[in-house]
């Protein structure tokens, strides 16, 4: 009996298979790969609208005013406000700018003026007191004045010496000298366009938040969450022909503890990692194992870990001591011990800025460790048994380990590095007030332009240089060349010259640049990279595939 049932089952299965094959043969022939247009149509069909995306951010700042120059605000309100240009950000090192509120631009007079054409029909969010009026060239003019007068990020617009509003949709900006980096700053997440009416009503931008962006600010609870909802009348349209954004809104929950942040990711409670940083390298395997299909993108930062000091303090005023300190350090040991090997050597312009950075071989040759030479220089300078104080800034485990390995390596050359634990403001106070012979090992202001690593740090007119006692007319000239040279090839040449000189003078000591790892849940579909330098472009095109 059992054998009979077995045979019947086999016959049924075979009949089923034959039927399936016959049906397949009668069906349409195999389809060729979709063409560009078809592919877009397929994508449009796949897109699912709706849902709330969630990310986390650490403790919120005191004010939501974008003019304060806060990373947190720049990232979190990036899609509520709008910028003149946006980063294309198709990868983490794609810093090309694409039109946004400004549709096209023209550089004239050898870089001494620029005409911006405003996109027609873009409206502010329909909230009092702005009430959805059109964004015009007058708004750009008002923002130039406001940023230069009332914000703490004045530098964004200082190159503009005057402007003329030609009509509602064009404005001409004039510069005393060409500014190669000004154009890049038009896409900076700190450079949000703000509505004049709010300033006139509140005298601040931390109470009423209205922009031209795709998401409307809904609520903010300190230490809990920031909520935005989708704007129904945004000017951009999606692949499905309807107005963006695809999602109904997005929320940022405040999580201050790293373990909790990681747990929120692994438990699927957050969809995206924050703008700045990513999980530590050592935790990536755990994340991958716990959440199969998780999207991880690793990329070099626009920055590097540098050792800074006050040049008008002994022993740093002596070039031989600076050189000896640099020669005593093995960058590979730092990369291996502090960042688990997940870091690369850096010169004065970090390797992530590939167009301007020194080739890897040159960096390795110039910054090779040489303890014998370090000892000789110290001897020559009469600076043996010198003690240097290091006040570490709070940071990740990698940062902490870095101090210890540097202490050990310079110790081998005869320099005593005393590590004093203190809050970040203590370190900053000591550096700014130039009270002590201390060093600071940190990443400085990150930037996606070589000027950010040369002029902004070392030019004697900058507070950064003044705070560290740097005053060098030759360097000022070299830095200026980097800033004003518009031609890319000549600018690279200028940047190389400045770097060579910085290497000669060692006004700071570059070490390594560690990589960051951005993590997204498997269901996140988003065409762009989320990165502090870009803000969060493309949040309007994010959709949830679940």
């Amino acid at each position: 009996m059992q054998r009979m049932i077995g045979k019947k089952k086999i016959v049924a299965v075979l009949l089923g298979l034959a039927l399936a094959l016959a049906l397949t043969a009668c069906g349409p022939a195999a389809q060729p790969a979709p063409s560009g247009g078809d592919q877009k149509a397929t994508e449009a069909q796949q897109i699912k609208r709706g849902g709330i995306a969630r990310k986390w951010a650490p403790g919120a700042p005191g004010s939501l005013d974008p003019g304060k120059g806060d990373y947190w605000v720049a990232c979190e309100l990036n899609n509520t406000y709008g910028k003149l240009l946006e980063y294309r950000a198709q990868s983490y090192t794609d810093s090309e700018l694409v039109p946004s509120l400004v549709e096209k631009w023209e550089i004239k007079d050898g870089g001494k003026s620029m005409v911006l054409s405003v996109r027609k029909g873009v409206k502010w969010q329909n909230i009092p007191p702005v009430n959805g009026r059109e964004f015009t060239a007058q708004d750009i003019a008002w923002n130039i004045d406001w940023y230069k007068k009332s914000s703490e990020v004045k530098w964004l617009w200082t190159p503009v010496t005057s402007y003329q509003v030609n009509d509602n949709y064009t404005i001409t900006l004039n510069f005393d000298e060409p500014s190669a980096r000004f154009f890049q700053d038009l896409g900076s997440p700190w450079n949000e366009m703000l509505p004049r009416e709010v300033w006139e009503k509140d005298g601040a931008f931390n109470k009423t938040i209205i922009g031209t962006g795709p998401f409307i600010f809904e609520s903010f609870e300190t230490d809990v969450r920031l909520v935005r909802k989708a704007r129904p009348d945004y000017w951009k349209t999606g692949a499905d022909g309807k107005a963006l954004p695809y999602i109904d809104g997005w929320e940022t929950v405040i999580l201050k503890d790293y373990s909790t942040q990681l747990a929120a990711l692994i438990s699927g409670q957050v969809d995206l990692w924050r703008c700045l940083g990513g999980p530590e390298f050592k935790d990536l395997e755990t994340v991958k194992k716990a959440r199969p299909g998780v999207q991880i993108n690793s990329y070099p930062r626009y920055n590097y870990m540098a050792i800074s000091y006050n040049l008008d303090q002994e022993p740093w005023s002596d070039l031989r001591f600076r050189k000896a300190f640099s020669l005593a350090i093995d960058r590979q040991v730092i990369a291996d011990a502090a960042w688990d090997g997940d870091a690369v050597w850096s010169s004065f312009v970090p390797p992530s800025l590939a167009k301007y950075a020194w080739p890897e071989a040159k960096v390795k040759e110039k910054f090779a460790r040489n303890v014998t030479e370090a000892k000789r220089l110290l001897q020559e300078a009469g600076k043996t048994n010198v003690t240097v104080v290091d006040v570490p800034l709070p940071g990740g485990a990698g940062g902490s380990r870095m101090h210890e390995v540097i202490q050990q390596m310079v110790g081998e050359a005869g320099i005593k590095l005393e590590i004093k634990e203190a809050a970040s403001r203590a370190a900053r106070a000591a550096m700014v007030d130039r009270r002590e012979n201390i060093i600071s090992i940190s990443t400085d202001t990150p930037d996606d332009d070589p000027d950010g690593f040369i002029g902004r740090l070392f030019e004697s007119s900058t507070s950064s240089a003044q705070n560290r006692g740097i005053k060098d007319p030759k360097l000022d000239e070299l830095a200026k060349a980097v800033r004003v040279t518009v031609d890319p090839a000549k600018r690279k040449e200028a940047s190389d010259k400045a770097q060579d000189y910085l290497y000669e003078m060692l006004y700071r000591i570059p070490t390594v640049d560690y990589r960051e790892h951005k993590v997204r849940q498997p269901w996140i579909r988003m065409p762009t990279a989320i990165y502090w330098a870009y803000g969060i472009p493309g949040m309007d095109e994010l959709w949830l595939d679940k």
Binding site: E152, T222, T260, S267, P446
Partner: protein, 316 residues
Amino acid sequence: MYRYIVRRLLLAIPVVWGAATLVFVAIRLMPGDAVLAQIEEKVQPTQEELQAMRAQLGLDVPGYVQYVRWLSGIAQGDLGNSLLTRKPVLDLLKQAVPSSLELGLLTALVAFSIAVPVGVISAIRQDTALDYVGRLISIGGLSIPSFVVATVVIIVPTLLWQWMPPVGIVPFWKDPGQNLMQYLPAAVSLGAHFSATTMRMTRSAVLEVLREDYVRTAHAKGLRERAVIYRHVLKNSMIPVITVMGSLLGGLLGGIVVVEVIFGLPGVGNLILRSIQFADYTALQAGIIFLAVMHVLVNLLVDTTYAWFDPRIRYS
């Protein structure tokens, strides 16, 4: 009784004032100030700009002038404005206090419901396996800090089942279920530690009372053990337990900082941490005053409950 409470409250004023003054001085002894702590990396102010910012926050005058201004503000019920958010500190406290109170109450509940039953069982089954297990739990609770328990509570279920308490706090009145899922794990992390001390105190207090004549008499009268424990032993051994609980709860409010940060709870602990981070003097002073006031009030509450446990106690 009323006189006693009023007198205790009056005595609390110098205690709170002392604590606040100590914090006022201590935070100003640290290098740097609110302006240096608050300036962003992208902002590189000159010394003149730094001075202007200090003047704006009222930090350009000598410390004693700031102190007098601050005290006179408090006398008028004004705790000042936060140096970070520029909002009235009282508003920040109003936002943070309910969260910390909820956490404090739940912690007390967790600690009490673990400590008293385990302590009593440990005492009445002295030197048995149950006693040893109870003492082991107590030693464990004492030796493992709250932040370790908190991290374990978050990480272990995440790694095993991809589950953690919901993030993004929801107030109790909006969704009690979710709110408890968010606060209870934090309360367990804190309560486990506090229950250990209370359990040890309960055990020794119960052991002492068990040897009293009136307990022996109760047994001799033929009362069942449960009745003896409930009616005679428990009530008479509670005074030292309540005292310990009181002082622990006062201290607990100071210990919530780390647990609030780990679980993302928007309480006074988080407020204090942010205030230290950004040198927000006024908010920090207000946070410490709140903790000092709570300490005093909890101890006052404990002292006034003595009479309920022992009617012979008179407040005069």
